[in-house]
């Protein structure tokens, strides 16, 4: 039986706007429709960010609620795993970064395991108090953390929180490659990230994405190394050099082709739940 590879689609993110690519879904209705399209194309997990009415990133619980409600009401057949961000606005408070998880209880939520200088311009703060509170709350609310790591030090931080009981094994990592101030995206670095994870947090599952030039290298690399993959316009508004992505679906379809050409199969949401241990 073919090995299953989970495709996560990150539809929107906090940054790209229609001026960058008119196909970025921004409103709750656009995002709900987009998630459904991507699910039909093979995505098993949807990582969602919200935008305010001006198109800026927001942690508005109302926007998350509206999007999830639209998806469930209009597409009741869609069983995609929802993974809601906790980092959609650099000015959000600790409370607003978690309120939507408490109310909506998605199966997954992002957990950014350390602070960094973001794009050489601002602070992406995930201080110890916030990470401890978020980790314990996610356990209480039965929301599986997707541990986003931008460098190997963040993996070590996850191992610390695992020992402390803030996080619970088995962990699931999202390796974020090629982001400014994070580890550059290369195969050598991806191998090092995985080796670090295997050493410090054995038994973990992992996924990977690369922004910009390393996007396809990281996709192929993750599949070849037994990981899972994330695609979507949060990370890349371009499909190829000089070519804007037509849709998130287009990116998911390519990911599915890569997986099948390698000899694996895209995981269904049910299979993703089994792989990630959701609902246990």
């Amino acid at each position: 039986m073919a090995k299953k590879t989970i495709i996560t689609v990150a539809t929107t993110g906090a940054w790209p706007k229609k001026e960058n690519n008119p196909n970025v879904p921004m409103t709750p209705q656009e995002i709900a429709n987009d998630v459904y399209d991507c699910w039909q194309a093979g995505a098993a997990v949807a990582h969602l960010h919200m935008r305010d009415d001006e198109g800026n990133g927001t942690m508005s619980t109302e926007k998350f609620r509206e999007t999830v409600s639209l998806l469930r009401a209009q597409h009741p057949d869609c069983d995609i795993v929802l993974n809601l961000t906790t980092s959609g606005d650099l000015n959000a408070t600790d409370e607003t970064r978690q309120a939507h998880l408490k109310e909506l209880r998605p199966e997954m939520g992002s957990y950014d395991c350390g602070s960094m200088n973001w794009l050489n311009s601002s602070l992406f703060l995930n201080p110890p108090k916030f990470l401890e509170e978020l980790g314990r709350n996610m356990q209480e609310w039965n929301v599986k953390p997707e541990i986003e790591v931008f460098d190997p030090g963040m993996i070590a931080n996850a191992a610390y929180y695992l020992k402390k009981g803030v996080l619970k094994a088995p962990l699931h990592f999202q390796m974020c490659m090629g982001c400014a101030n994070g580890i550059p995206g290369s195969m050598k670095n991806l191998v090092f990230m995985k080796e670090t994870m295997d050493t410090l947090c054995p038994g973990s599952t992992w996924s990977c994405f690369g922004v910009g030039h390393c996007a396809m290298e990281m996709t192929y690399g993750a599949v070849a190394m037994g990981g899972h993959i994330r695609v979507g316009m949060e990370d890349n508004v371009m499909y190829a050099k000089g070519q804007l992505a037509e849709s998130n679906r287009q990116l998911v379809e390519r990911a599915a082709r890569v997986i099948r050409e390698f000899g694996n199969e895209p995981a269904t949401p049910a299979e993703a739940r089994e792989i990630l241990g959701l609902g246990r």
Binding site: P16, L119, A180, P184, G185, H213, E234
Partner: protein, 63 residues
């Protein structure tokens, strides 16, 4: 959360044309990074960050 690539936006000191480089290409391009792809002149750094609203006005230099 990711915000896509970090770009550095330039115009050419000699011919005035606009262009941009992705910061992750620094180790790949080395000394060529920041140079004008049209005439080889020196690029004048303007700004950096994720894709700006006028991003399309700055063709990306990739090699």
């Amino acid at each position: 959360m990711s915000w896509g690539p970090c770009f550095m936006y330039y115009h050419c000191q000699a011919c005035g044309k606009k262009f941009k480089y992705a910061a992750d290409m620094i180790p790949v391009l080395g000394e060529k990074f920041g140079a004008c792809p049209y005439c080889g002149g020196n690029g004048v750094f303007e700004k950096d960050g994720a894709r700006t609203l006028d991003d399309a006005d700055y063709p990306e230099v990739e090699e």
